[in-house]
């Protein structure tokens, strides 16, 4: 959005005019800002910039090196070509699973966040606590429990078989469905909370105004509620899609070898095959892809001003 002439100051002659003067009188004010930024800056330098530099460097090592013989920096850009050729399947699968889980989270999360924001009344806080409650148990334990729930002789599969919704030898575990369901379950709170924050801020009088202006409930939702909740939608989908795409626990525990995602490959290359250059190249590739996708997405959603 282009911001034209700024609104005139409320109190003529107030604030604005004397501010530069005050700044020049107290030059230390500008130093304070940098001092306040320093802790976060040092943290980012130590735990993001340095490791990422190391990761990028590793991805360019000669892939024939090993822990025993050591690695040689040969600027092996070919590593990237190799990983794309060898692992484009798990890479695309990770994106697809992440996108499917994000879509499922958006639908489920929007309904839930809407209900909490507008219909929960005095149960609002309790429901928010319940949304966060799963975090009290380890991510790994919860995903393992899903393995039991979706097991071949478990209650869910038996019921579906009785209802003829699933064939006699049909299964849920070790299918893409189980992986996407697990991702959806695990990342739902990351969708619900930003959506709730956006919807809770929404003035219900705007929805009343839309119905006063001939918008039926459906039109009112798509013309007023949805656009005003876009900041929540954007941050919710980012918070879900990014970790869901990189996640390998769900594919590992709930999927089969046919459902391996890029996370599984990176994990096995790092820990089992000890092929650090390939693992690093895959990691850098995944990071860059996600950053590019996020930039395109935020630009397309046009919500920079709302974020």
């Amino acid at each position: 959005m282009s911001v034209e002439a700024p609104a005139p100051p409320r109190t003529p002659g107030g604030g604005r005019a004397d501010r530069p003067a005050r700044r020049s009188r107290r030059p230390r004010g500008s130093v304070t800002g940098y001092l306040l930024l320093a802790p976060a800056g040092i943290f980012l330098l130590a735990f993001f910039v340095v490791p990422f530099y190391s990761l990028v460097a590793t991805s360019l090592f000669d892939p024939s090196g090993s822990d025993f013989r050591g690695y040689e920096m040969t600027y092996a850009w070919g590593n990237y070509v190799d990983v794309v050729r060898d692992y484009w399947g798990p890479l695309l699968r990770a994106m697809a699973y992440g996108a499917a889980a994000t879509a499922a989270c958006l639908v489920l999360g929007y309904v839930l966040a809407y209900a909490i924001a507008f219909k929960a009344g005095r149960w609002k806080n309790l429901m928010l606590v319940l949304v966060i409650a799963p975090f009290f148990t380890s991510f790994l334990i919860r995903t393992l429990s899903w393995k039991l729930i979706l097991a071949d002789d478990g209650f869910v599969v038996n019921t579906l078989q009785v209802l003829q919704l699933l064939g006699d030898d049909g299964r849920l575990l070790a299918t893409p469905f189980a992986v996407i369901a697990g991702l959806t379950y695990n990342f739902l709170p990351f969708m619900v909370l930003p959506l709730y924050a956006s919807l809770d801020k929404l003035d219900p009088r705007l929805v009343e105004a839309s119905s006063d202006l001939y918008a039926n409930p459906v039109a009112g939702f798509f013309k007023v509620t949805w656009p005003l909740s876009l900041p929540g939608v954007v941050s919710g989908t980012l918070l879900t899609f990014i970790p869901a795409t990189g996640d390998y626990i769900n594919a590992e525990l709930l999927g089969s070898t046919n459902n391996r995602v890029i996370g599984n490959v990176i994990q096995s290359q790092f820990t089992d095959a000890n092929n650090y250059p390939v693992a690093a190249a895959l990691s850098v590739l995944l990071s860059v892809l996600i950053v590019v996708m996020v930039l395109v997405y935020v630009r397309r959603a046009g919500t920079e001003e709302l974020l």
Binding site: M1, E4, A209, L213
Partner: protein, 395 residues
Amino acid sequence: MSRLAEQEVAGDALGAPASGEEGPYDGLRIRALTKSFGSYTAVRSLDLDIPRGSFFALLGPSGCGKTTTLRMVAGLEQPTSGTITLAGEDITRTKPYRRPVNTVFQSYALFPHLDVAENVAFGLKRRKVKDVAAQVEAMLALVELETQASKKPAQLSGGQQQRVALARALINRPEVLLLDEPLGALDLKLRRSMQIEVKRIQTEVGLTFVHVTHDQEEAMTMADTVAVMNGGVVEQMGAPSELYENPRSTFVANFLGQSNLIEGTVRRRDADLVTVDMHGVTVSVPAHRVHTDGDRGWVGIRPEKVLIGEVGAELDAPGNTVPGGVITDVSFVGVSTQYLVRMPWGQELQVFAQNTGRQRMFAHGEQVELSWRPEYAFLLDASQDVAAGADRVVG
């Protein structure tokens, strides 16, 4: 004020039609409208007839049920019982988005993600009207905001936002335009100019405006007809001057302007004149200004109608001189001087004297006599609370 409104008002001050007929009525008609929230009744069996094309004000203190009434007309609140008909059609249960009624909300409720032109076009687009752009342009011209069309509401001043809200509702040419304290958020000077602006627009477009306010001055300057609400019921309805000059209850007498209310005993009732003994002074009140059947009542007189003079001086009022006053307070406010005069029975009466120069100013502690023309006095029921409506918020 339209002729139709005068007839209705003349028929019955509480808004019920004189003849009792329920035939097609082209205005907004409310019958026995009641709204309860749990055990609290916000609006109690309200009857109103609002003629087409009139500027109607619902005036009352906060919590009197005026906004609830407005929301029921808009369809944003479901009545507990009663009916609302518009141009002969029952709209009591019609969804808000199907009613030919639009609202200018108290907080404006402009859509923050849409620019001014898109806000104004909202209603037309939902109804799939053609030629939206030209209509929006004309409407923005009417409210003098052509140059602001592509700005977001947050970039506008309060007065500009108010005009966008008005334009957004008006462009739909509703049968009835509801205004819910639309000027409440503006400062005094801007509010006065917006009052004139809104009145100008109403005259220009000729739609029915129903304006809810707690500001008696705003109601009186803008509306053709004012209904004064209190405790969920209409206390009195009529033209502003009629309400002011001949109030029927202590609430209206105190809420609209100020009144001196003096206890009195009815001595004699003649066909056109009622004689009242007021702490030993006999005063008379025209029969059509007597609003009680009892033996006792409140004699009411507006402070600016009270004449003040030296003891024994000739006052321009036939009879009814009230002697024995002592001035206890003098406030000079330029065009007039406001006196507080303690009467022999202990009550302090307010007197507003125009500073015409014909009379000298009186000083604190001076002995004076008061008088007024009988045709300005009114008599209210003794059972009513003498202080009702006196603690109003001056908006």
